[in-house]
Each structure stands twice: as structure tokens, then as C-alpha cells.
């Protein structure tokens, strides 16, 4: 579990990355097919997060995202409607028409194919629904700031998928199919439950560097053609 940590008050660099995340608050859309969960999450989210609306199906979510242009969409992986593609379908349909919108996947499931499907569709993070309101708020802020949000389980899955434990390391930064030694270390610590700040202090690097590494890993996860990832993606008819 990552402990919530206050994120960049008045950080000009981040404001440049996220022009629509106004200081008035972070505008989010909640997409989940369970009204109990939506209302629960809405009540739990911290005060600076403004919930623009809610959607319960793929079709409604796509319309809402295009219509409301939220900064962050808290997106359930399993959704009814559409062509049966769930959260990943929402990202693919609505993403191109809402260029400033970022997606954070929420799920009760931590099955590998669920994770891969939304991440490859373009989600910037993945957390489980048992996360507290503070954790979800924090994750939403991180995503809005352009960072990737990795739960310990997702980090463990990444280590597995890229064969990092077996000792495979990337030689160059351009290589998409393997993690670099530093990225592996960061992932290993995140899998152990360290927060980004704790990873930074353990490895004696800046917190921003940790975020860079995590974003690089996310990019590899989305673009890599490693056969484990492709197989899962094929299974979910993503390719």
C-alpha cells in the first residue's frame, strides 16, 4: 500500500503538463456500473476533487467523456454495454476525442488480462477498488500530473511479464521488450509496498526520477510486443 503523500503544491512544471487541472480542483468522471460504488466513491473522494458526473455503461461513459472533457476518468474495467469491451473500449472510443483526458482504471479484479487490456488501451494507472478514498484521490492527482500509478500488484505483474526476475535487462533505453536495471529496481520496491517517496529515498534518487522510471515502464507496457503481453492482448481482442 502506498501511503498518500501531498503532491506538488504550486509546482509550475506540473501545471504546464496539466493545463486543464486548474487550481480550483481536479475534475473527474466516475464510470462504474454499480451505483453503490459510485456514490461511495463520490463521498470518499477528497474535497479538492470535483466529480463532474457519473456513467454506468460503456456508451454513457463515452458520451460523458466527450461531453464533459474531464481531466481524469475513474474507470471500472468491467462495464456493460458497447461492444462488450468494458473499460478498454471506453478508452479507445473516447480517448481520441478527449485529448486532455487521462484514464485511471479501477477494478475488483487483479487478473493479468484485465490489467493488460486497460493499460494497453491507454490507461495511466491501475488500482484496486479496495483502495481507500484518500488513496484513490492521490492516485487521481498523480495521473492528472502526468505520472503513472502502479499498485504493488501491478508492479509485480510487470516484473513477471518482462522477465525481469529471470535477469533480463534492457541494454538501451529504446528497447521496449525489457526493463532497464533501474526500472527493475523501482518496480521491485513498488511491488514491496514502497511509496514513490520511499523508493526515491531507498535508491537515493529524486522522487521525480522515480516517476520518470514508472512512466517509462508504463510506456513499455503499452507499446511492448513481448509475447506474454501480446498473447493477453490478443485474448482480449485488443489487437
Amino acid at each position: 500500500m502506498t501511503t498518500p503523500e501531498p503532491i506538488g503544491q504550486g509546482d509550475s512544471a506540473r501545471a504546464a503538463i496539466a493545463p486543464s487541472a486548474a487550481s480550483a480542483g481536479l475534475r473527474v468522471l466516475i464510470v462504474d456500473d454499480h451505483s453503490i460504488f459510485r456514490s461511495g466513491l463520490r463521498a470518499e473522494l477528497e474535497a479538492d476533487i470535483i466529480v463532474l458526473g457519473e456513467a454506468a455503461t460503456v456508451d454513457a461513459a463515452v458520451l460523458s467523456v466527450i461531453d464533459l472533457q474531464p481531466r481524469v476518468v475513474l474507470l471500472d474495467v468491467h462495464l456493460p454495454g458497447g461492444h462488450g469491451g468494458g473499460g478498454a473500449e471506453v478508452i479507445r472510443e473516447a480517448g481520441p476525442r478527449a485529448p486532455h483526458t487521462l484514464f485511471l482504471a479501477l477494478s475488483v479484479s487483479d487478473a493479468a488480462d484485465d490489467v493488460v487490456s486497460v493499460i494497453r488501451a491507454g490507461a495511466r494507472g491501475y488500482i484496486t477498488k479496495s483502495a481507500s478514498g484518500a488513496e484513490v484521490s492521490d492516485a487521481a492527482r498523480r495521473v492528472a500530473d502526468g505520472d503513472a500509478v502502479f499498485s504493488p500488484r501491478l508492479a509485480g505483474f510487470v516484473l513477471d511479464a518482462f522477465g525481469a526476475v529471470a535477469g533480463e535487462t534492457a541494454e538501451t533505453t529504446e528497447e521496449l521488450d525489457r526493463l532497464s536495471a533501474r526500472e527493475t529496481e523501482v518496480m521491485r520496491l513498488i511491488a514491496r509496498g514502497y511509496s514513490y517517496k520511499e523508493v526515491a529515498s531507498t535508491l537515493f534518487i529524486a522522487a521525480k526520477t522515480v516517476e520518470t522510471h514508472v512512466s517509462a515502464v508504463l510506456r513499455k507496457l503499452q507499446l511492448s510486443s513481448r509475447h506474454e503481453l501480446t498473447a493477453w492482448a490478443l485474448e482480449r481482442k485488443l489487437l
Binding site: E44, T128, R192
Partner: protein
């Protein structure tokens, strides 16, 4: 109406009696009397025999058992396969033993009539051979067909060649017999030929019918199994969507330390276990690999303490080698039981003294096994523990040392909490059993080098 297992011939009379509430004897007498009325009874019997199913085994008829929900993954009834196949075979086996030996009786009748005909013709009696010979052939044919029928129903004869030979023989015999009736007739005309053709067709149908019936019932069973599977998938999807969500919400609202959250988590785990084992084909044997063992331990401890374990496992699957039978896996890739015991003790320690969210991270790589238990509690240092407190010192550190690995207790990330790191180099995993402690110092593991920045804070184990 079904035909019972306990039967004389086909079980039709018994089934009918059971269905209507009449006595079996009455039904049988009535059938015999009807048979005398131009064979109406025989026709009726045959018709009922073909149309009424065998008494189905309880496994097939049973709906989705409720117990499997209460105790996830415990009920074997959900398993497709063995019960469905075994139960009908058993039932028919019993029925075969209880029914009259029709094949032998028919063959005997055929032989007897052949003998009588032979003797009678020798004695000079005018035997209509044109009727007797085909009659004998037909009797033998029916006997063979019967044998094949019974075998097919019981599913006993799986040697397809034997079955094929017998079936072909029966077919030929029946066809020849029926043909003979008409060919040897005095004046063959259009009508006898037509009737002969129809008869041959009938004979073929009679012989093939059991196969068709068998296929049909197999198909029905298959459909039922698929329907049950679909029903299960529906339930799983529903539980996944609604119940798991609700349980997650409860945990979210209640906070990690409350009883409500603990209950919700326990329920969630049971449900997940049930859903998971269901999709995996229902393997229910106790987990023998290290990751599953850790998850099970986490579940057990969560039931007793206000703690939430986040278990993350990475790398190849590693089995657990029982210390009682060190040779259980000769390839030697397994982790010793003492590692599991040490991990359990470390997790218990975190649950007891820290609580809240505890991370358990297992990494199994080519170089060995690394396991860390990180909590966010008040933290402790080994040198602050009184010498008479043996919990961590003996059951974690000592145990790992004897197993050929090492253990370290150090402050958690950011100086808060405690991190217990258990490492077991790969070379140690190949040695059988839990041997004496190695004379050489504990090898430096990859994990230790990875985090050598924290060496200053680290309290390395050098027990005994």
C-alpha cells in the same frame, strides 16, 4: 417414469408399477396377458422400453449444490467428467447383474430349436425348414444384438473392434434371417419383396437403436453439463460484479482495523477462491506451491488479527518441499518447509505488533528465493529485544539459518515500521532436507546488494 436398476428384463414393468402405484406382479401378469392378445403386450413393452430412460444417477439430476457456495472449492460435484461418466456405468452394471441372462437364453433357444428340428427331421417328421432355419438365425442375431446393446448401455466394452465385429455380425444375421423368410417363400411377388425390404430396414433400426439412444443420452448429459457450467459462470459474473464490489466498498468504508473490514475481507477471499478454482477446472487440493502457501497463511492470519496482507509474488512457481519427505521432489527446485514456517512467523509478528497494511513480497529467481515482509508499525530492532524473547530470533532467524538461508530485520522504508527479509540462495534449495547449518558464512544475496545503501541501518543476522 424411469426404469429402476433392479429389473428382470428391461425394467419396464417395475418402472410402470412404481409410476402408477400398482403392484409389480399385477403389471407383469397384465403384460403377459396382453402379449397373448396378438402380441400387443410385447409391442407395448418394447415401446416403453425404448422410450423410458434408465433411472438416472443422482449426480446428473442434482442441481447446483448449495454447499459449494458455503465452502468454496470443496465440493467435487461441480467437476465435469468423472462423476457423470462413472455414475451411469455403475447403475447399469448393477442392472446387468440383476437382469436375466437374455443373450444366453436366446442362444440356447436357437441351439435347442436347431437340435429339435434336426432330430425331428431324422425321425421323419415333416419339418418346415423354410421357417425353422431363418427362425434360428433370427434368434441368434437377436442374442448378439442384445449383448451389444447391453455393453453399449453399460459403457463397459470400449474395444471398438470387438464391438464392431459383434454389431456387424448381429446386423448380418438379422438381415439374412429376415431375407430368408421371404426368399425361401414359395411364390415371391412384389409384395413379399417390399415387405422383405421393410423388414431389413426394421432389423437395421432395431440393431442401431441402442447406439442412437446412447448417443442421444450422451448429448443430453453434455447439454445438461454445459447448462450447469453456464449457470455457474452466470453466478460467478454476478458475484464478481455485485458482491465483490460491495465487499470492497465495505472494506473501504470500515478501515483496515475494524472487525467489519476483516469479515468482509475473509468473505471476499472465500468468494475469490471459489470463483478462481471454478474457472481453473476446480482443482481443490491444498496448495503446494510457495505463493499459494503464503496467500493461505495471509488469509489465516487475517482472520485473527486486524491486518491486511498485500501478497505480491513474482517469478517462477516454486513448490514446497516437506521436511518429512525430503526426496519428494528429486529435481530439488522446491523451497524447504522451514522457509514457509519462517515466513509465517514473520507475518504473524507483523500482524501482532504492527497491524494495518502489511506487504509481503516473494521473488523466485534463478539465484534464489527472496521474501520480504514489510509493515508500517512502530518498528523494532533486534538488539532491543530481551534475550529471553525467542519469537523472531529463534523461529525466523534461526530457522532460516538452519535451512541454509539468511534473515535480516531492519527498519522499513523511510525509517518507519519493520522489514523482515528472508533469502534463500538457489544452491541451498538443491540440498535435501534441512541439514546442519553451513560452516561458511551466509552468502551475500542479491537482495542484500540491492539495498546495500541501507546497510548502515540494517541489523544483519549473526545468530549463533
Amino acid at each position: 417414469m424411469t426404469r429402476p436398476r433392479l429389473r428382470l428384463l428391461g425394467g419396464v414393468c417395475a418402472g410402470f408399477a412404481d409410476h402408477t402405484g400398482l403392484s409389480v406382479t399385477t403389471v407383469r401378469v397384465a403384460t403377459v396377458l396382453l402379449s397373448l392378445c396378438g402380441g400387443a403386450g410385447v409391442l407395448l413393452y418394447a415401446w416403453l422400453w425404448v422410450t423410458t430412460p434408465n433411472c438416472v444417477s443422482p449426480t446428473i439430476a442434482e442441481p447446483l449444490p448449495k454447499t459449494s457456495l458455503a465452502r468454496p472449492g470443496r465440493s467435487p460435484d461441480l467437476l465435469p467428467g468423472p462423476p457423470l461418466v462413472a455414475a451411469p456405468a455403475l447403475a447399469v452394471d448393477v442392472s446387468l447383474n440383476r437382469s436375466a441372462p437374455v443373450t444366453e437364453i436366446l442362444l440356447g433357444l436357437a441351439l435347442l430349436s436347431a437340435g429339435i428340428a434336426l432330430v425331428a427331421s431324422r425321425l421323419g417328421a415333416n419339418i418346415p425348414l423354410a421357417v425353422v432355419v431363418p427362425g434360428i438365425v433370427v434368434l441368434a442375431g437377436i442374442a448378439l444384438a442384445w449383448r451389444q446393446f447391453a455393453d453399449v448401455r453399460s459403457g463397459a466394452a470400449q474395444q471398438s473392434s470387438a464391438l464392431l465385429v459383434r454389431t456387424l455380425g448381429a446386423l448380418v444375421l438379422v438381415a439374412v434371417g429376415i431375407l430368408l423368410f421371404f426368399v425361401t417363400g414359395d411364390s415371391p411377388n412384389v409384395w413379399t419383396v417390399i415387405v422383405a425390404a421393410a423388414s431389413v430396414l426394421l432389423g437395421v433400426i432395431v440393431v442401431i437403436a441402442p447406439w442412437v439412444l446412447r448417443l442421444w443420452s450422451d448429448l443430453a448429459d453434455e447439454r445438461a453439463a454445459r447448462a450447469r457450467e453456464a449457470e455457474r459462470a452466470d453466478i460467478a459474473a454476478h458475484l464478481h460484479d455485485s458482491v465483490l464490489q460491495t465487499l470492497a466498498l465495505i472494506q473501504q468504508k470500515a478501515g483496515p482495523h475494524s472487525d467489519v473490514a476483516r469479515l468482509a475481507r475473509a468473505q471476499e477471499r472465500e468468494l475469490r477462491e471459489w470463483l478462481f478454482t471454478g474457472t481453473r477446472g476446480g482443482s481443490t487440493e491444498p496448495a503446494s506451491d510457495l505463493a499459494a502457501a503464503l496467500r493461505r497463511i495471509a488469509g489465516e492470519i487475517e482472520e485473527d488479527f486486524a491486518v491486511h496482507f498485500e501478497v505480491v509474488t513474482v517469478g517462477a512457481e516454486v513448490g514446497v518441499r516437506s521436511s518429512a519427505s525430503p526426496e519428494s521432489n528429486p529435481s530439488g527446485g522446491d523451497a524447504p518447509e522451514s522457509l514457509v514456517a519462517a515466513a509465517r512467523e514473520a507475518m504473524l509478528n507483523a500482524a501482532r505488533h504492527a497491524g494495518g497494511a502489511v506487504s509481503v513480497y516473494l521473488e523466485t529467481g534463478a539465484r534464489g528465493i527472496e521474501l520480504s515482509v514489510t509493515d508500517r508499525g512502530p518498528g523494532f530492532r533486534l538488539d532491543q529485544i530481551p534475550a529471553d524473547r525467542l519469537g523472531v530470533r529463534e523461529s525466523v532467524l534461526g530457522r532460516m539459518h538452519r535451512a541454509g538461508g539468511s534473515a535480516a530485520v531492519r527498519p522499513g522504508p523511510g525509517g518507519a515500521g519493520t522489514e523482515i527479509l528472508l533469502t534463500l540462495p538457489a544452491t541451498m534449495r538443491t540440498e535435501p532436507g534441512t541439514a546442519a547449518p553451513p560452516a561458511t558464512p551466509v552468502p551475500t544475496t542479491r537482495a542484500a546488494t540491492d539495498e546495500n545503501q541501507t546497510d548502515a541501518q540494517q541489523t544483519e543476522t549473526s545468530m549463533r
